[in-house]
Symmetry: C2
Subunit: 233 residues, 2 copies
DNA sequence: ACCCGAAGATAAGTCTGACTTTTAAGTCAC
DNA sequence: GTGACTTAAAAGTCAGACTTATCTTCGGGT
């Protein structure tokens, strides 16, 4: 689905990264370069590249005469998309999903408010199309089609805010929504109330009603939080 | 001030990173490995490590038979603390400062609300101490002392929220506040209204009044945004 | 004239071995 | 026990040879 070759170091990262974020190596653990390169059957140069990347994510720290030390979780660059993906694939997925959803509920309403004043005509059109797509796929277990439009909707809102920091969270939201659909068991069709809210947000943005767009989006994210409370302990 | 040796690759990054985020190499520019290693007078292995890190930040993309291509700004991992520092040191500092302040105004009120219900007794005490420190340094051009307490205040709020994503923004807020104090010419003492608001937030958190903590923090960040509107065009 | 496939060239990717540098830890004299 | 000195372990650096993917070009066929 994703990778092919993409470089040896990337393949090392694909297993070493999740292992660290997954807690296989508790903080303080010390790894040694040549042991790692033996274990992964790659040359030291490839191994160093991988370790350098982990170091830039603040997952590990490399010191002479000591080795590669695993850092405690609070040090990690949890906004790095790759780290997010690794953690969502791992064991503490529920906790991760919750903290990301809380972040969403802080950011997305603000983004929607800004989008109402900054969105281009094209972006308004995209929002409406997405909302229509969500409605069309909201019944009869068409979860995949629904998800695609849902992701595009939120991504457009974040981009239309005109704030690069908000825009960059589009991928994060996509991961959260995908995770919710695929892993969290969704027996039923999406909440009709949520669908209606999306339609109304598209409407509010088109009509340049910032306060309403913000408030409606707040209701959407609040709903997501409540849903999380129900499905996860 | 900061670095010493920290590895050759890090020294390369210190000049190549800012050069890219600063726009010295427009998106699409192609760099070649051996030219770079010549230019920086390091071996290719060191250069590769540096490029791998830049690649993990999505600043560049390395492809066989082509070279190292600079990616357009929307691709960059703008939440990476190092990227933030590079950009704040560069030319589009004002734009960066604004987008970060908008982010603050979305996140910090929510964090304060959560902090009101999650803060430990110790964290409440820290908040009060910081507020007192801010009051004490609010007159007579004691900007450095004021800044230190201001940073610690906001960092504590973010940490006390109990949300790791919020907590991780502590460094970002510190950079913004430091930037505002040092680069933005601050002729006068801090706004007395802001000082009062901080004291009240500490109070609200201590009294577990989430709504009030959130609202007061919203006023603080709104003030920061207005201040930016006045000082920057 | 146009399309397609083969050959060549180019730059990144990989591996290996020798060497350097930092620094933790152990040792010895006082 | 304290401090200076020695030792050794691990990361860091470098250089060179080789491999691999892929873009370009050139030639043959229709």
């Amino acid at each position: 689905m994703t990778a092919q070759v993409r470089g040896l170091h990337a393949r090392v990262l694909d297993t070493l990264g999740p292992a660290i974020t997954g807690g296989d190596y508790p903080p303080g653990s010390v790894l040694r370069m040549d042991e790692l390169s033996k274990e992964f059957e790659v040359s030291r140069s490839v191994m160093r590249e991988a370790v350098r990347v982990l170091e830039s994510m603040h997952l590990v720290e490399s010191r002479r005469r000591v080795g590669v030390t695993v850092l405690p979780a609070p040090e990690w660059n949890v906004y790095d998309p790759q780290v997010i993906r690794w953690r969502l694939a791992g064991a503490d997925r529920p906790r991760q999903l919750r903290s990301l959803t809380v972040l969403r509920s802080a950011v997305e309403p603000a983004a929607a408010g800004l989008a109402a004043t900054h969105a281009t005509a094209e972006q308004c059109a995209t929002l409406t199309e997405c909302a229509i797509g969500m409605v069309a796929n909201s019944r009869g277990r068409q979860l995949e089609g629904y998800l695609l439009h849902d992701i595009e909707f939120h991504r457009t809102i974040l981009r239309a805010s005109g704030n690069e920091m908000f825009a960059r969270l589009g991928d994060v939201v996509a991961e959260v929504l995908t995770g919710r659909t695929h892993h969290q068991v969704m027996f039923e069709d999406p909440d009709p109330a949520a669908v209606t809210l999306h339609v109304k947000v598209a409407e509010a943005v088109r009509e340049r009603d910032a306060a309403r767009a913000e408030q409606l989006t707040r209701e959407i994210t609040l709903g997501a939080l409540e849903e999380l409370d129900v499905l996860a302990p």
